[in-house]
Symmetry: C2
Subunit: 84 residues, 2 copies
């Protein structure tokens, strides 16, 4: 199945990349851009040998997020699974 994970810096956590982008935009002629937050978008296929139920797949992907993909101390994550 296809998995799409979205990882964002937690509210209140400084996001230096976002601050940099926000400061750069006016110089390019874009006024009125605020609250820039930059996170990660991860796509992967998850097809464990033998197959898994949708519920087990959700548990596994949640585990992957907590243990490798995201840093739960400073980042939030959400994900969606897509059969096929």
């Amino acid at each position: 199945m296809k998995v799409r994970v979205t990882i964002t810096p937690k509210q209140g956590i400084l996001d230096p990349q976002g601050v940099t982008v926000e400061r750069a935009l006016p110089a390019l002629g874009f006024q009125g851009v605020t609250d820039v937050r930059i996170g990660k978008h991860i796509e992967l296929r998850y097809d464990p040998p033998g197959g898994v139920s949708a519920e087990q797949a959700r548990t596994d992907v949640d585990d992957m997020c907590r243990r490798l993909l995201a840093n739960p101390i400073i980042e939030d994550y959400t994900f969606e699974l897509d059969e096929g």
Copy 2:
């Protein structure tokens, strides 16, 4: 309005971060993960002084993506606008 931009490496472009994650997952006990691609997820507010039409906002955000947020040579991007 709220803007959400998703940036992904183009098909065929090497994604070393994705390769690294893919190699690390089996060591953590996750079998069957393939095609890992890591891109960016950007959230921002766009409220230009005087306001803009939805159409103009789309044009402006597309411009921001091409000129600063993404690298169109090696990355694809999509975005969605949300009033409010």
